[in-house]
């Protein structure tokens, strides 16, 4: 648990905790049985992420990643958001302990799933 100051700060005061009543898209990754779970809600307007919220069942790294990821993605276009990776989230947090890189740093993946969910809905609506 040798976390960076940034991780500790985001863990202690996580941004964007919660869900939305009418999200444009929802993504969830992980399983409580064997790892962390992160769920991300987004609203999209004019092809931009207007808002993002997360909920995490997981360790400090997982919670800080959810917080950081939702912060980073706000205001980004869909393409920009899809370019956000777990590695970039970890980097923005000042790094994560090696053991945490793969199991607790799934926020970007949850975000991508939320975007996919949004895009699938769009396609459905257009159809």
């Amino acid at each position: 648990m040798e976390y960076s100051a940034k991780v500790i700060e985001h863990f202690t005061n996580p941004r964007n905790v919660g869900e939305m009543d009418n999200p444009s898209g929802v993504g969830e990754v992980g399983s409580p049985v064997c790892g962390d779970v992160t769920r991300i809600h987004i609203t999209v307007e004019n092809n931009r992420i207007k808002e993002a919220k997360f909920r995490t069942f997981g360790c400090g790294a997982a919670i800080a990643s959810g917080s950081m990821c939702t912060e980073m993605v706000k205001g980004k276009t869909i393409d920009e958001a899809l370019a956000l990776t777990d590695e970039l989230v970890a980097e923005a947090l000042g790094g994560l302990p090696a053991v945490k890189m793969h199991c607790s740093n799934l926020a970007a993946e949850a975000l991508h799933k939320a975007i996919e969910d949004y895009q699938a809905k769009q396609v459905a609506e257009e159809a």
Binding site: M1, Y3, T12, V17, P32, R55, T56, G60, A62, C103
Partner: protein, 388 residues
Amino acid sequence: MKQVYLDHGATTPVNPDVAAAMIACLQDHFGNPSSLHGFGRDAKQFLDEARTNVAALIGAHPEEIIFTSGGTEADNMAILGVARAMRKKGNHVITSAVEHHAVLDTCLALQKEGFEITVLPVDAYGQVHIDDFERALREETVLVTIMHANNEVGTIQPIKEIARMAKAKGIIVHTDAVQSVGKIPVDVNELGVDLLSVSAHKIYGPKGIGCLYVRKGTKMLPLMYGGGQERQRRPGTENMPGIVGFGVAAAIAARELPAEMDRLTKLRDRLIAGLLALPAVRLNGHPTERVSINVNACFHYIEGEALLLALDMRGIAASSGSACSAGSMDPSYVLLAMGIPPEIARGSLRLTLGRGTTAEQIDYVLGVIAEITEKLRAMSPLYNPNKG
């Protein structure tokens, strides 16, 4: 910030009298007890005195105490030493599913050496059942190693009954008493065991020293070879500051045990009651047959490390699972063995009390936990406040 240490199961602060004795040893008594001259004889006296104090704590003879580098070495010495020495007689060893890694991993190593290991299951409280034990006994059983008190949930095992049954069949019995010595009365003859492991740093002594009690006449191979120290059973220049500290810690533990056990049992039960008054909490381990220092609970919908970290941010030191496996993401194998579902086991918190713990601290910690768990649950995708 207020600091509250509730991780006495991981390690304890060094008692000031222990530290003082170690300082004197370091500064004024540096001799090698094997040396023939005055400096050596001086050291030898300290060695003998410490051995007497440690022996007295567990009702043993001083010659039955072998100093080791800690509980881990004591466990390894007992298990590998006896099993390897008895191999011709039989190749079956019995242990339990909730042992410390120092026992479990050592049994697995024996398995690679050709031994057969029976790992006894435990019930929902973490206790081994004596009838399971009886069924596991075989003609080829040479060693039973079952802990006295569990490090994660504090549950006390029926060692006396196990030892009686095993001894009737001539089987050697080892118990890891690292978590019971100093917490409940431990007497090697009362328990009827042949080998018993102790670690100093769990009883306000220094880290890196412990002992194995070995009943007279017990056959075992050494783990290491070299000088003739410890009656040829454990070579190497003795860890004199550690041994001296262990001796003082043992003397203090023996003296203070009855009063401390009483005091801590009350505090423990106050803490348990306070936790169970919070929503979606379950107590792990036996409600009464547990050591006085141990509280272990699961907080549904919360992951243990996040809980630890949040407590740490508030100056409260606790643990989740055993200290050694902390940092890993796996739920505690002890809780799983007790039948707790993994997603719930992952939300476990161990609070272990000790000499410095006060009622005020307990109440403070309860308040903080109420706050933190509420906050973490609000963050958890598993938590549905409507369902509770």
